[in-house]
Amino acid sequence: MTDERILAVTMPKWGLSMQVGKITVWIAGEGDDVSVGDDLADIETEKIAGTLEAADAGTLRRIIARVGEDVPVSSTIALIAPPDVSDDDLDAAAAEARAVIDAGVPEEAVGGPAVETAEVGGRKISYAGTGQDGDVVLLIHGYGGDRNSWLFLQEPMAARYRVYALDLPGHGTSSKDVGDGSVGMLADTVLGVLNAIGVQRAHLVGHSLGGAVAIAATARDPLRVSSLTLIAPSGFGQEINASYLRGFAGAQTRRELKPVVGQLFADESLVTRQLVDDLLAYKRLDGVDAALHTLLGTLMDGDTQRTDSAAAIAAIGGAVPVTVVWGKADRVIPPAQAESVAGAVRHLVDDAGHMPHMERPAEVQAAIEEAITRAG
């Protein structure tokens, strides 16, 4: 760009496989003054829809990407500049950006972190890492999820940390055998992956069942965990949405699965056809049905929670700083259970359900990074 005061708004990379995104609506218009964090546009990827927030403040002077067109990741979709930058300079920058969008996805754009596998407890475990040398962060998904659940977080956090995401046994491309399905077995898997990565200490981030797993791993060896961030973790109360869990485990068709998956989000319109198809493809792999039903027994005793993370966290006894993040509109595990996480810094997130890391990723990322910084 000719003038340094012209700031580019770019198509974000939400997830390892994302190559193009599509703007479904421009929330901000040309001429609007925007502040950091303002909603700019709704963007749809083949997996999920999300809202792009402004990373810079200024006047939105030019909108380049049209609604509905395929825009390659990281190409310029709009320009922010102060009012005194000339229209000629902006038009020149806009024409340059237009040409990049029109050129489409470059051939070599696939990239992303390579998937690695480790043998842990006789199982093949998949994980993928990306980012800077430095503090290691390990992201642990919940029941029925996989390492791609972190699609909105892993790449952005990689700017500051070395960020890994794993597939727990029974999930993603890891072995589908879950043995007794216990939280202890899952926690041993997490520690085994840390060994495979070759790090002594890491920051653990766990969602839902993954939160209980992160706590159990920490309880086994507190010296290996620098900080613990729990997103809507299981095990801090009796109440849980049993019909959601049974519905997810039992759904055989897209028609059955879609309304179930909708319960994960505050805004059900985020559930795209591709997201449901991907979940269905996972559920149809040999062994997944058995794994999900075994893990159902780990999570629930009748209609209430079986896991007891509160006792486990008491055992850690403040040796590791704990942060808890919860969506205020969580319909799977009630956000009130955040109160039971002793000694934790709490973040309750507006307009988010059970998947705040997908619905409000910027806020969750900020909470995790604050936790890491606090841990020193």
């Binding site: 496989s17 998937v115 491309t173 589908k176 055989q252 068709t253 897209r254 028609r255 056809r273 991907d278 493809a281 149809r284 792999l285 040999d286 062994g287």
Partner: protein, 337 residues
């Protein structure tokens, strides 16, 4: 699901994984082991287009090369199925089914019914279909409507590598006779396919693209032609919902009807001849059960009611192309009383 393999490799992988998992699974047909013992590429061809290549040596004694007598080996496969095996027999071209049709429609399809539910016939008959390979009228037909017509047969037409593997796995595990149609022009099509085994249920259509203006129902190779047409139409402001039926028997009526209830407009795209076909079947279904939703007459894009021409120029215009689908969609989208 990062790994990409072809439609041909996907079928081969499903066969190999099921043979690994279940020792009653066997493969039989003409040239499955043709050239066995010859050096290099000539060794064990794996069928005329190489779909079963590699299985002969990997599963000794379980890949059977048969004489060129379809009535004999298709009959043998059906008999073996009733006796506890899970044979996958290759009827090289569906055009050859005439000589073994009795074994299929009047024997295999009837056993469960005639023997009061006591007999199961877990046989898969793999067969190639479709035009486009300059193979003329006797090696290019789309005869799946004939099998769809017969109660007791399941009829499967995968359009993608992912579906080819999952539907083949289900076909082998299914306890009824399954006709598995492979389009010759799709063998080299590549797509993402999980390495692990998975089975796709029969009777579940796949919504390949969502759109609110016009429903396009297609199957087999025509799914891709329809998606190409839908891309062109989207650029012109017409959003099509493209449905791949995946199986014609059982048929997923609900997905078709729900879509037409939303769009009010239907184009059916079928490479087969137009009379008594899947295209007419879907049209009748919608006319009967979604009549109140229709805002335009149903359009069918099919081959003409002729044999497949041998002339290259004629074969090219025989096969429905994207332009014909675009025209049909525009016709129903712009239709007024």
């Amino acid at each position: 699901m990062a790994r990409t393999i072809t439609y041909r490799e996907a079928i081969n992988e499903a066969l190999a994984q099921e043979m690994e998992r279940d020792e009653t699974v066997i493969v039989m047909g003409e040239d499955n082991a043709g050239g066995e013992g010859s050096p290099g590429e000539m060794d064990a061809w794996g069928g005329v287009l190489g779909v079963t290549k590699g299985l002969y040596h990997r599963f000794p004694g379980r890949v059977l090369d048969t004489p060129i007598s379809e009535s004999a080996f298709i009959g043998a496969a059906i008999g073996a199925a009733t006796a506890g095996m899970r044979p996958v027999a290759e009827l090289m071209f569906v055009d050859f089914m005439g000589v073994c049709f009795d074994q299929i429609y009047n024997q295999a399809a009837k056993f469960r019914y005639m023997f009061g539910g006591k007999a199961v016939t877990p046989v898969v008959i793999r067969t190639m279909y479709g035009a486009g390979l300059r193979a003329a009228a006797q090696h290019s037909q789309c005869l799946y409507p004939l099998f769809t017509h017969v109660p007791g047969l399941k009829v499967v037409l995968p359009a993608t590598p992912y579906d080819a593997k999952g539907l083949m796995t289900q076909a082998i595990r299914d306890n009824d006779p399954v006709m598995f149609f492979e389009h010759k022009a799709l063998y080299d099509l590549a797509g993402p396919v999980p390495e692990e085994s998975y089975a796709l249920p029969f009777g579940e259509a796949n919504v390949m693209r969502e759109g609110g203006d016009v429903t396009i129902v297609a199957l087999g190779r025509m799914v891709h032609t329809s998606l190409e047409a839908a891309r062109q139409l989207a650029a012109a402001g017409v959003e099509c919902e493209v449905i791949d039926l995946r199986t014609t028997s059982p048929l997923d009526e609900d997905t078709v009807l729900e879509s037409v209830e939303g769009t009010g407009r239907l184009v059916v795209v079928d490479e087969a001849n137009p009379r008594c076909s899947v295209a007419t079947d879907i049209s009748a279904l919608v006319a009967q059960k979604a009549f109140g939703s229709l805002r335009a007459p149903v359009e069918m894009v099919t081959a003409p009611h002729t044999p497949v021409p041998f002339s290259n120029a004629l074969e090219d215009i025989y096969i429905p192309d994207a332009q014909r689908i675009v025209n049909a969609v525009k016709l129903v989208a712009e239709w007024t009383r």
